[in-house]
Symmetry: C2
Subunit: 279 residues, 2 copies
């Protein structure tokens, strides 16, 4: 791949990690934008970005990588999208796709650029540039949502994802993405919050081990971001919560009825699913 | 502490690990019993036990450590408890206490021994002597349920727990133990099974990361053991499942109503609980 000039907007955990990985592992030129000047200073100081990006840079960049909350990402493109070149790839890092991709595709047609959706499946329980890392994406999946972009643009993003360390690139649609993410990521986050709201939680110390730790881990949530992500995918998530409540109710009802056989069958079914996946 | 002769009954993951830890880190004499002769051969070969224990050994042992399923532990004592000396400490490793301790206390009075309940808060997703380890208890809690035992007997078990590597010993009652365990351990296991029963689970690969892995981990359950543990603590567990369903329903209802403020408040509450615990 030829050297690209890449402008990253939003140097939080994800944007910061992408910037650091691009600078550490690729020959591309990395520009950064952030509303917080201290973060820009830090990013410059540690070499995560070559220089600060400005609106004037938009016509000459090859890739505009939006690492913002979903609504902010769309807003940014609405405001500045007209300034990028018609060959520019605009991409995002949002955890939901139905609420972002169709709007971006529509904007790409009126403002003239190529939109390729992306979702780096990586995170931490803390946010911000401070905790970003060049190696955040090791062993992670990059979900690529090409929408209506030309093949070369999607291929470029797939190659870049590999260059910055992703273990695999999964090509998908906004619809399938959001359904899967509701289950694999949003539900565990909702669950972690619901779990720690038990009156027993504040007394858990001394009585807990790995299973408490694992279920509760992601309750340390950024509620502003996740409220937006949840609401933008509310149908799929509500559906997953409903399925989980149903399955929990089956277990509860077997318990209440002291139905040994039914309870054993439900737990066995759980074990068999995990085993069939080789986990 | 003087050298003790300790008979461990049941050399599975927990009994095997206790045997290995006692042999590796203490001067005590470790005898083992198991219904599987191959396991006994293995335990002898690797030095986890000094020798095989027989019914004839019961009068001369200082500690009888039952590492069996709850009903089997009580059955063992009913059958052989009359043979131990009146100074013998009988202890268990069961994950529930209300269903075990009162029966053991009653037996201790008619058959003459001291009963001290115990619950080593450690485990793995696999079972059996093969995966037992001398270091299994590092960083773990030992829940000590002295019931009506004399202080010296409870102190002996607390000291032994420290000797085999437990990071802390928490003294508690059967009632409080079972309430806390329903929340910290049983609920996450029920939850993991309920979670993997979603129709989305078999398709998760490529779309999942740490939060899927953590919630689903313990679905690889020993359903025979956990059915017994769940049923013996059904009231507390059913209560915890109910609380969780209620909290999940609040999140689901805020989603369905698109109530941003309410959803944000629920997630924030979750985060604050975790933060207040310093996690």
């Amino acid at each position: 791949m030829k050297e690209k000039t890449i402008l990253i907007v939003g140097l939080g955990l994800i944007g910061g990690s992408i910037a650091k990985a691009l600078s550490a592992f690729t020959p591309h030129h990395v520009l950064g934008m952030d509303r917080n000047p201290e973060v820009l200073d830090q990013a410059l100081a540690c070499g995560a970005i070559e220089r600060i990006g400005y609106a004037e840079d938009l016509p000459s960049i090859d890739i505009l990588w939006l690492c913002l909350y979903p609504n902010d990402a769309v807003e940014f493109v609405r405001k500045y999208g007209a300034h990028v070149s018609p060959d520019c790839i605009v991409t995002d890092a949002c955890g939901i796709k139905n609420a972002v991709c169709p709007q971006m595709v529509a904007l790409s047609k009126t403002l003239h650029f190529h939109f390729v959706g992306g979702h780096p499946m990586a995170g931490k329980e803390r946010n911000g540039f401070d905790v970003s890392e060049a190696t955040l994406f090791r062993q992670a999946s990059y979900l690529l949502v090409p929408c209506e972009a030309p093949q070369w643009a999607a291929d470029t993003m797939a190659e870049l994802a590999k260059q910055i360390g992703f273990a695999q690139v999964v090509w998908t649609t906004p619809e399938h993405h959001d359904e899967m993410i509701a289950y694999t990521s949003q539900l565990p986050h909702a669950l972690a919050c619901a779990y720690v709201l038990s009156p027993r939680c504040p007394m858990h110390k001394g009585y807990s081990a790995g299973s408490y730790r694992d279920v509760s881990r992601v309750a340390r949530i950024n509620e502003t971001l996740w409220t937006e992500l949840f609401l933008e995918n509310r149908e799929a998530l509500s559906n997953e919560i409903g399925t989980l409540i149903e399955n929990l109710t089956h277990i509860q009802s077997a318990l209440d009825k002291q139905d040994t056989q039914k309870l054993n069958a439900l737990l066995k079914q759980g074990r068999e699913v995990k085993e069939s996946l080789g986990e």
